[in-house]
Symmetry: none
Subunit: 418 residues, 2 copies
């Protein structure tokens, strides 16, 4: 089942915004058995929009559109769709109620510009947008090349588009079109690079049956391995993927931390909840990023007490409990300091587990002895503290991210005692 | 001068790779007076490539292509270009010498696959690639709609494409075509939604001369306003944009925090550095995210001492200096608590400025009196503490982000005493 994506927005054509919507939409469509044939980015221009719709309609039965449906003057997608589908704007009471609700929640009354957003094309089904004031629009055209052609217009704001795709568009597309059965399993690994991983699993990968495919999806600090199977016998495909996944995991067991949409911060949260244990962090080079990841999980206040971000040395001593002699003798980026941070915060916060970090994130502060990327991580657990030294790269953002992921995976293993 | 970009690669259509090339190419083209009318992403398929070339040729005089010119079987752009331009592959000694040099540097001899990369279309000028083995290809066609049409094929690997664009493609395009001058200025605002902003500046926007355009670029918590001018008289356009930008700013002065690529965390960092002042944070609902933003800026250790992330109430008392009676009487999400957090950490860290946050990020923890999104922010400065109450939305991630940006902008204004 073939689809095209049209992303509308002048900001995408001057390079001010990277078009991340297309990749996300394409991934979701692929996971549901829809192939993306083409992505077209055009500006907020009537003629361009109409030409792009007309050309896509000739090629594919599903056209997904994002962008250009905000309340302001430059957003002309809605009126252009009206023209294309030869329909008119009518007042939609449901849409208006949703807009009122959003404004009421913020303590405002609806502005005239936003009231206009409840005027929607008569010829479409509208799709709710719980995160914004622009509804989605689902049009069907019968005279297309392959019979029915579906056009769906969604907001350009990524989180609004994503919720609408997941909750409405993908389920409705699956209802409308017959797609082959596609099954995916993603194995999540931490602490090993793509090429080392590829060398470790080379033989297994070469022996994979041809109807199963492996994809490497690297991110800073994490490599996701996705096994995809396609066919008609759902039970058989699921069974084969499970078997191959088990073989794969046995080759790289120490690096596998989860599956599919898991995150390390969610996994750690579930483990702590299950044990009724309390976590705190003592962060130097990660600067609060580990606490941020942990508290990005809803309900984290049940197991996370807090953090001391000890960027300055006197804070490491006074709040995190590092002895001034330790700092003087070994320096801030040292095993002794990071272990004292971990046990100091464990006592002070009365926490069961503590993550502590100290490193040189860069770009400045490195030396021959301790180059940029040098990082100590300690994990304090009941009655014990362990620590490890890592040498990451020279990119500040990636060093912070890799330190945080490595630390969370060390905590995961410590809780599981593996 | 109008252009189109064609990005070729199956990986872009399954969502495995975000297409960052288009945004970068578009930005460079715009800065040189070339307008990008459309971006098309297609797979490594002969028919798709030919159709995309044919369609682009009908619309614009400049077509820039990236991707699909590597040494492997799936890379078919080069042979397809030969077909499209009715030419043949010939051995290019310069290209072969470059390939040998690259392989020698890595200590290998040239493989047969890479030797094939020195076979290049007879009808094109080739462009050197110091970072890889695939040369660029510059084709000209005389029978295009507007006279000469230029097609340039470049590698898909971002750093190879970027060097080729900068060193060869942009200079050659400027030599070939006369371009108008294009100038952008982006005004960054915080704390006001897109539609409220539009209502405030409606009259100014309507009165804009037609050769200046305004675009709204919203992100969670921030709306960027971009003014674009185009013409032949560079000095005149720059002057007009500055005049209009000044008028615009006077209408929304309290929300403007910077320009173009500025971030709030960088601006605050520069201000603190300039004053030799020290910052710390006391975070509840933001869970370390403000400290993370601040420490994402290289060199932030010069002005940032650290943070107490006080998720649990006993940490708010013991480390952040909130009186237990205050917590009992007013609760954790209250003006009294957030102000005591700010002044407590100011004393404890011997900091000049402190940001403190306490709110209900959601999705749980709300009540009728204090619904999800209720957030107190306090700023302690030398001799003073101020605080404000905000009602954000019901999305945890956005509430954390909006709180952080609001807090950083409050700090900015406090430092500037505006």
């Amino acid at each position: 089942m073939q689809t095209e994506i049209i992303n509308i927005g002048d900001e995408l054509l001057i390079g001010q915004v990277v078009n991340t919507n297309a990749a996300w939409m394409a991934e979701q469509l692929n996971l549901s058995g829809f192939k993306v044939e083409r992505v077209t980015i055009i500006g907020d221009e009537r003629e361009q929009i109409i030409e792009a719709l007309r050309a896509a309609e000739k090629r594919v039965p599903v056209v997904l559109i994002s962008g250009g449906i905000g309340p302001t003057k430059d957003d002309i997608t809605k009126t252009t769709l009206c023209e294309y589908f030869n329909t008119r704007l009518v007042f939609n009471p449901d849409a208006y109620r949703d807009i009122e609700t959003i404004f009421a929640r913020r303590g405002y009354s609806v502005t005239e510009l936003n009231r206009q957003q409840a005027m929607l094309p008569e010829a479409c089904l509208t799709l709710p947008n719980p995160n914004g004031t622009a509804r989605g629009m689902w049009f069907e055209k019968q005279e297309g090349l392959q019979g029915t052609t579906v056009f769906v217009s969604m907001p350009g704001v990524p989180f609004e588009m994503k919720a609408m795709m997941t909750d409405h568009v993908i389920p409705a597309l699956k209802n409308t079109f017959q797609t082959p059965f596609i099954c995916h399993k993603t194995i999540l690994t931490q602490g090993i690079g793509e090429s080392f991983l590829a060398a470790r699993i080379e033989k297994w990968e070469n022996d994979l049956p041809t109807h199963l495919k492996l994809a490497y999806l690297p991110q800073p600090g994490i490599v996701r391995l996705r096994i995809t199977g396609m066919g008609t016998d759902e039970a058989q495909i699921r069974k084969e993927i499970e078997e191959q996944s088990a073989k794969l995991e046995s080759l790289i067991a120490e690096h596998v931390f989860g599956y599919d949409m898991d995150t390390l911060e969610e996994i750690v949260g579930r483990l702590l909840n299950g044990k009724g244990a309390i976590l705190a962090t003592a962060e130097s080079c990660t600067g609060g990023y580990i606490a941020h990841l942990i508290t990005s999980v809803p309900g984290s206040s049940a197991y996370f007490k807090g953090s001391v971000v000890a960027y300055a040395n006197d804070i490491k001593s006074e709040l995190a409990g590092v002895l001034p002699e330790t700092l003087q003798k070994h320096g801030a980026v040292s095993q002794a300091t990071v272990e004292e941070m971990a046990t100091g915060i464990q006592r002070r916060f009365e926490a069961d587990y503590v993550i502590a970090t100290s490193g040189i994130a860069g770009p400045d502060g490195g030396s021959t002895e301790k180059p940029v990327g040098t990082t100590w991580i300690a994990i304090a657990s009941p009655g014990e503290v362990v620590s490890s030294l890592f040498t990451f790269g020279d990119n500040r953002e990636r060093n912070i991210r890799r330190t945080a992921l490595q630390a969370l995976n060390m905590l995961r293993k410590k809780i599981l005692q593996i």
